[in-house]
Subunit: 432 residues, 2 copies
């Protein structure tokens, strides 16, 4: 009989994939703390990515219809090269002068209406929204901010106060929530009431800060003119209009560079992030020149990494790729065809409700059935998992967690859209 | 007679350097807003940088004794290569799993006492301090924060409230300022009074947040035991001790990896930034595991670019270079010799007061003269300008703006220190 030592599995053997995953999750929980957000019941362990494709460590590939940070595609060589060259050459801060850094500010501002003439670069969208609130509060002398009631604008202390999707009720007296615009909704009336509250309470109105596509709110279709009406009320009350373009900007909607353009009214401040450096941390606040000047005169604002040379090189490469590869036109045409194909799936799948959105920011509502329009969060979560198993990555949003969020990198082509539609079709069929 | 068109200076001629600079400054003011901070009366227009040297567009080179972000040296090839490879391969976020990302968390935590077992990565030091305050306030259930009265901790709304160098008086009831520790000072007594205020007002104490070397306060020599005493008072009152290592960390002091180690008491939370990614935006909060876990359980905290793959690759390369090039030992020995040489200049220059600091974080106090220890801010500013003209970059700090701040990249060698001392010597002599 062989000794137990010889029959025991040697300790150097690789653990099973399931055991390895469990070990990795335990290690992650210790190092990062529990509840650090993670996607999927069986999380993905990625190895590499290129364009619209992600590859996991087991060699499986996934079509990326979710990640908006890799705006011009994962690992785009123009961005990688621009950053590498700039990091090797010079990567300091704005306390020294640099023509290329100013060039980037100018190229970025060229994409905006002339009324928005200055920009303060930061590193993250959270910093951008935090700064925009500071500018608005200093500029108006008031503290009140109106936001929608199921939204996310970032993670600083100040910006967390307005991220209503994670704060079920306003946690502070200077923030009021309103329901996002939608058919039959009362967005404008909500804004009117919030303004009255800020007037009557003496808090005063600083700004209405909204995501122009109301994505976290569920990417609802906005009845024409509602944002414009609300902005008129806000301005009449002395407040500013801040558009959070962290998700909707840089051409994602196809028709426009910026989400606010779909509402026909120019914001006072616009915040940017995510897509801006294709993964290199870069964000910022674009605004009316006087607002930014007034803030700068009162407050010493310096951001060590903001507007760094490498950040600006990344940002410039992103703008250039968007234009060289005609990515707005791609988002427009492929996005429109994709939306049509998703709508066509309704014939087969009674659980598909509205298909909403523009360009490469689409939402597919999942409901109980043709005769029961109640949201079906459970099924939506299941579809997200099953699409992943079918090799396509999407997510879900909305106050009822029942809207599939489709937000691919911008070089997503017609053939990729067809793969997505096929995967969704399969994922809605009964499991075999 | 030639036509006027032929005699007129062609418009394509390059403007004079002075005119070009003026034009660039006007352009910058429009694009970025006025008062965006800038160094030097005649700002530097940089072209490239390598190691401890910066080169301007006119081909002049400057020894960098100021920039701490380029911690392991400007354009260090190991960091540039690590970022470039990672950006080309995979650069997403922590909602997917990645062993290399976890490895970096672990390697970073290995540099800390075992009591500090978790880390939340962010992009900037401002985000790190903002997050640390959120963790401390949620963990203690109180709002009060004690900081020194001439300090800077960042630029978010929350962190601006504690950046006393730019807010002459506490702007909110939940922040109290105390004078930084120094010989003959009353730091501990100030902390005791602040704690009493928070108790009596019902606000309650969340934390004392300090830069362990009190750099913006003027890099005062801390009387032995004072920080430890203050921390004991803070803890007895239920508050936390947060060390802001954004400037003092990653071995800058030579003897230690972290500034808090010079005071013999382990913080509850430590914030990191600047040096961490050698220019790639990377920062974070290291803390007691339970504190971070309790926060994570209550708050959905996600930072899109924080702990991104490229950020972690940069951070890991920085740790490896610090060890491979033995940069702590370099900071210790070159820093000590530099401090001695700076002190030796006192024989020749009666305007040199105290020479303070450790390793590569030194302060040279500029006073009126041997018999008049009054701060001489004007002369300090002049010396900074003259040292720049002599090809060496330093800055000034302190509540009286009269402390030369010497904080070079870590590969600063003995020969560079000699150049610095010579330039300071020249800059203190009467102008010829």
């Amino acid at each position: 009989m062989p000794s137990p030592a010889l029959t025991r599995k040697p300790s150097t053997a690789a653990p099973s994939p399931a055991a390895a995953l469990k070990q990795m999750l335990a290690r992650r929980q210790n190092l990062m703390g529990p509840n650090a957000p993670l996607f999927y019941r069986q999380p993905l362990v990625l190895a590499r990515a290129k364009g619209v494709w992600l590859h996991d460590v087991a060699g499986r590939k996934y079509l990326d219809a979710y990640n908006n940070v890799a705006h011009v595609g994962h690992g785009h060589p123009a961005v990688v090269k621009a950053v590498q060259r700039q990091m090797a050459r010079l990567n300091t801060h704005t306390r020294y002068l640099d023509a290329a850094v100013l060039d980037y500010h100018e190229r970025l501002l060229d994409k905006f209406p002339r009324a928005l003439g200055s920009v303060v670069l930061t590193c993250t969208g959270s910093e951008a929204n935090d700064l925009a609130l500071r500018i608005a509060r200093l500029g108006t002398g008031h503290q009140g901010v109106i936001v929608t009631d199921w939204t996310y604008h970032g993670n600083t202390a100040s910006v967390s106060e307005i991220s209503s999707a994670y704060n079920p009720r306003p946690v502070v007296p200077h923030v009021r929530y309103v329901r996002a615009p939608q058919a039959g909704g009362d967005f404008v009336e909500g804004v009117r009431r919030a303004i009255a509250y800020f007037r009557d309470s003496g808090i005063g109105l600083a700004a209405m800060l909204i995501d122009p596509v109301f994505s976290t709110d569920g990417l609802q279709a906005v009845p024409k003119g509602q944002v414009k009406q609300a902005v008129a009320l806000v301005r009449a009350a002395g407040g500013l209009y801040i558009a959070d373009e962290v998700q909707s900007g840089f051409g994602r909607l196809g028709r426009f560079w910026w989400g606010f353009q779909s509402h026909g009214v120019v914001p006072d401040l616009v915040t940017l992030g995510k897509a801006m450096g294709n993964g290199y941390p870069l964000a910022g606040v674009v605004g009316r020149r006087k607002l930014i000047a007034d803030f700068r005169r009162e407050v010493m604002y310096f951001n060590t990494f903001g507007a760094g040379h490498a950040a600006c090189a990344a940002g410039r490469a992103v703008l250039e790729v968007i234009e060289a590869e005609d990515l707005l036109a791609n988002a427009r045409s492929v996005g429109a065809a994709l939306a049509d194909d998703l709508r066509a799936l309704k014939d087969e799948h009674s659980c598909i409700g509205e298909v909403r959105g523009q360009g490469f920011f689409l939402g597919v509502e999942i409901v109980r059935g043709r005769d029961d329009p109640a949201p079906d969060a459970e099924r939506t979560a299941q579809v997200v998992e099953r699409m992943k198993d079918a090799g396509v990555l999407v997510s879900n949003i909305g106050r009822h967690d029942n809207v599939l969020k489709i937000r691919p990198p911008m070089p997503f082509a017609a053939r990729h859209a067809r793969l997505l539609v096929r995967a969704l079709d399969q994922s809605l069929r009964p499991a075999r």
